[in-house]
Amino acid sequence: MALKTFHGGVHPPEFKKLTETLIFEVMPAPQEIYIPLNQHLGKEAIASVKKGDSVSIGSILAEADGFISAPIHSPVCGTVTSISKQTTPTGFPQQTIVIKTNEQLENLFMSPLNPKTITPEEIIERVKNAGIVGQGGAAFPTYIKLTPPKDKQIEFVILNGCECEPYLTRDYRFMIERPEAVIEGLTLFLKAMGVVKGYIGIEDNKPEAIKIITRAAENENNIEVFSLKTKYPQGAEKMLVKAITGREVPPGKLPLEVGTVIQNIGTAVAVYDAVVKGEPAVTAALTVTGKGVKNPKNLLVPVGTPIKDVLDYCGGINGDAVKLIVGGPMMGVAQFDLMAPILKATSGILVLTREEVSRGEETACLKCGQCIDVCPLNLMPTKLVRYTQLGRFEDAGLFGITVCMECGTCAYTCPANIPLVQWLRLGKQRVKQIQRQQAGLQN
C-alpha cells in the first residue's frame, strides 16, 4: 500500500544521523539567563517582577496579557538584574528580563495532578497557567488550541511526530525516550477537548519511533499511529491533515475548519509534565547539531540560556562554521548575535559549515516550473514573485500569495537560486496591508 502523504514537497538530505542516537542531556543553568517577554504568538506578557527581586525555579516572571498570550516562569533561582531591550532569536530586540543565577535549586512547581481523575477544565487551566506554547515553531499558546470555538465540531486530535525538518531529532528522541508521556499527553488533549479519536503521524524514516509508539499505544483503542512518507513539509499542519484524514484545509483557514487540531510531540510531553509533575514551561528541549559544532547533542536547557552557553556546553564550534540557525534549516532564522536566548519553542540550533550552506549565484528564472511542481499548497511561486517584483500586489493577491506558509520548498528546488521566499514574504506583507486598507474603507 502506498504511504499516506500529500502532493508536492521535496526530500532534502536528512543529516539526522548526527544526533538521532544521543540521549537527552540536562544542561546546568548558566550564570545569566535572558527571558524575553514575548516568546509566543500574540501579545507580550507583562513583567510582574522588578530589578532586585529574587526568584525561584517556577516562580512567575510575567503574566499573560489578554486572550492570546502566555505567562512566563523563571527557569532558575537567582536575582533579577535588569529588564531591558536585548537581542532575541527573531533578530529584533525585545524587552527581556535578565536574571543572575545562584546555586540554589528550590522549586515552586504547581501541585501534581492525577491524569486519570483530572477534569477537562483542570487540564485547560493547568496548560494555561503553565505557559505552554506550541513546540512546532509558531509558539501559539496551547490552551487556546484546546478551547476551539463552540460552533466547530472537532473530530480528531493529531499529534505531529513528522519532524520533517532535516537535522532535528528532538521529537524523535521524545518518542524513543518518553513514549508513555507522548501517549498520556495525547490522552490529556483528547480529554480536554472531549474528542474520541487521536492520531499520531510519524514519517517512515523513523522506524524505531513508529515501533515504540505503536507498542505504547497498544492498549489505547482510540489512538492510531500512522506511518507517513518522508517528505518535506510533511509536518506542516495542512499537509499532515491531508495525509492522515484526506481532508483539505481551505486556503487561509485553520485545520479546525475540517474538524482537526494538530499538536506537536514536544507539546504533548510538556503538557504531561505540567499535569503530572506540575512543571511550567521552563525547559526547552532542543537539538544542537550541524557539522560546525564539535559535539552535537540533544539537550534539555533552561529557557533563556544564551546560544553561546549552549554551544560552549557542546564543546564550541569548529573553525569552518559559517552560519548559525535557530530552528530547522528550512524555516529557521539565521542569527547574528550569540547572546540571543533559547525560547520556549526553540527546537534546535544548527551550526553549518561552508560546505553545508554553499549555494550558487542567482540567475534569471528559467521558467522550468519546478517550484510549481513542489509547492505543497499548489501555488505558483515564480508567478507570485514576478508580480511582487513588479509591484503588482493586487495580481499577487488574486493568485493566492497570502496562502503561502513560507516553507521554503520552492527556494530549495529552484535551479536558478532565486530567493523566492524573501520575495514571497514581502508580497504577502504588502497584499495583507492592501487587504486591511480595503477592509477599513468598506467599514
Partner: protein, 278 residues
C-alpha cells in the same frame, strides 16, 4: 479618347465625396462634447503621468479638475504658476500653495551607522525585503536601510544614492510629488516646504546608551536642544521633534548637539553630485 482614365478618376472622386459626406454627417450626429478646458488644463500639467496625485494620469487629473472634483493644487508636481494658470482657466481663486520638497531625515550612512557584526544578508537588495529579516544589517531599526527604493520610486530623476549609501534629493529637480516618502518603509523621507531650514536628522527612538551605540549621527535624546528652545522642540520617546509653529532658529544651540542630529539643511555639505543622465 481613353474612357478608362475618366472612369477611374470619376469613380475614385465619387467615392471620396460619398465617404466625406458620411464622415461629415457622423461628425454632426455622433459628436461627443468635450469641454475645451480639459485640453487647456492638460497642456499646463507636467505630463509626466507620475500618478502622485492618485489619478490615472495627467489627462484624468484634468478631467476631474474641470469637473470640480479636485482642485488645481492637488497636483503635487505642478508649480504654483501652473496651478494658478489652471485656476484662472477654471475661474477659481488661485490658492497660494507652497513648494514642497522631499527631505531625507537620516544621516546614518555606511560611515556612521554601526552594523550587526557577523550578519551577512543574502537576498533581494530592496529596502522592504531587507527589513523583514531582523530589520536589515544596521543595528539602528529606525534609520535608512540603503536599498534605494526611494530612488527607484522617483519619476523625475531627482534622487540618487551617494557613496555613503544614503539617498540625496536634488532640490532643483524635486517636484514635491511625495512618491519617495511613500516608498520608504522606514518613513525617514518627509515632505517639507522648500524654505524650511531646520530638521532633526534622525528617527531613532532607542534610549541614549543604545542610540549612541547604534549610530554616530543619532539623536541620543540628551534634551539640550529641547530645553533651550522654549517649546519649539519637544522630546518624544528619546527623540527630539520640532514643532514648526513655535520654533525659533536663533535659540537652537547647534554646536551643543554632539551628533549633529539637529541641523539646518544648508549647513550640510553635500557629496559631489554625479553627472546626470538625460
Amino acid at each position: 479618347m481613353d474612357f478608362s482614365l475618366v472612369i477611374a478618376i470619376s469613380t475614385m472622386g465619387g467615392l471620396g465625396f460619398l465617404f466625406a459626406g458620411a464622415l461629415a454627417i457622423a461628425d454632426k450626429k455622433l459628436r461627443v462634447y468635450e469641454d475645451p478646458k480639459i485640453g487647456q488644463v492638460n497642456e499646463l500639467l507636467p505630463g509626466a503621468n507620475c500618478g502622485a496625485c492618485g489619478n490615472a494620469g495627467c489627462y484624468d487629473f484634468a478631467v476631474k479638475v474641470v469637473a470640480g472634483q479636485i482642485t488645481p493644487g492637488d497636483c503635487p508636481v505642478a508649480d504654483t504658476d501652473a496651478a494658478s494658470e489652471i485656476a484662472k482657466i477654471l475661474g477659481l481663486e488661485p490658492d497660494g500653495g507652497t513648494r514642497m520638497v522631499a527631505r531625507v531625515l537620516c544621516r546614518g550612512g555606511k560611515a556612521e551607522a554601526s552594523r550587526k557584526e557577523d550578519a551577512l544578508y543574502r537576498g533581494p537588495k530592496s529596502c522592504s525585503t531587507t527589513i523583514l529579516i531582523a530589520g536589515g544589517d544596521k543595528l539602528c531599526l529606525d534609520g535608512c536601510v540603503g536599498g534605494g527604493e526611494c530612488v527607484e520610486a522617483c519619476q523625475f530623476g531627482a534622487m540618487y544614492m551617494n557613496e555613503n549609501e544614503l539617498p540625496v534629493v536634488i532640490e532643483e529637480f524635486c517636484t514635491g510629488c511625495g512618491l519617495c516618502a511613500k516608498a520608504c518603509p522606514r518613513n525617514i523621507i518627509e515632505m517639507h516646504p522648500a524654505d524650511r531650514e531646520i530638521f532633526i536628522f534622525c528617527k531613532n527612538h532607542d534610549d541614549p546608551k543604545t542610540s549612541r551605540k547604534v549610530c554616530a549621527a543619532a539623536c541620543i535624546g540628551c534634551q539640550i536642544c529641547a530645553r533651550k528652545s522654549d517649546g519649539g522642540i519637544i522630546m518624544k520617546d528619546n527623540l527630539a521633534i520640532i514643532d514648526y509653529t513655535k520654533i525659533d532658529i536663533s535659540k537652537i544651540p547647534f554646536a551643543k548637539c554632539s551628533t549633529k542630529a539637529i541641523d539646518t539643511i544648508h549647513l550640510r555639505v553635500e557629496v559631489e553630485q554625479p553627472e546626470l543622465i538625460n
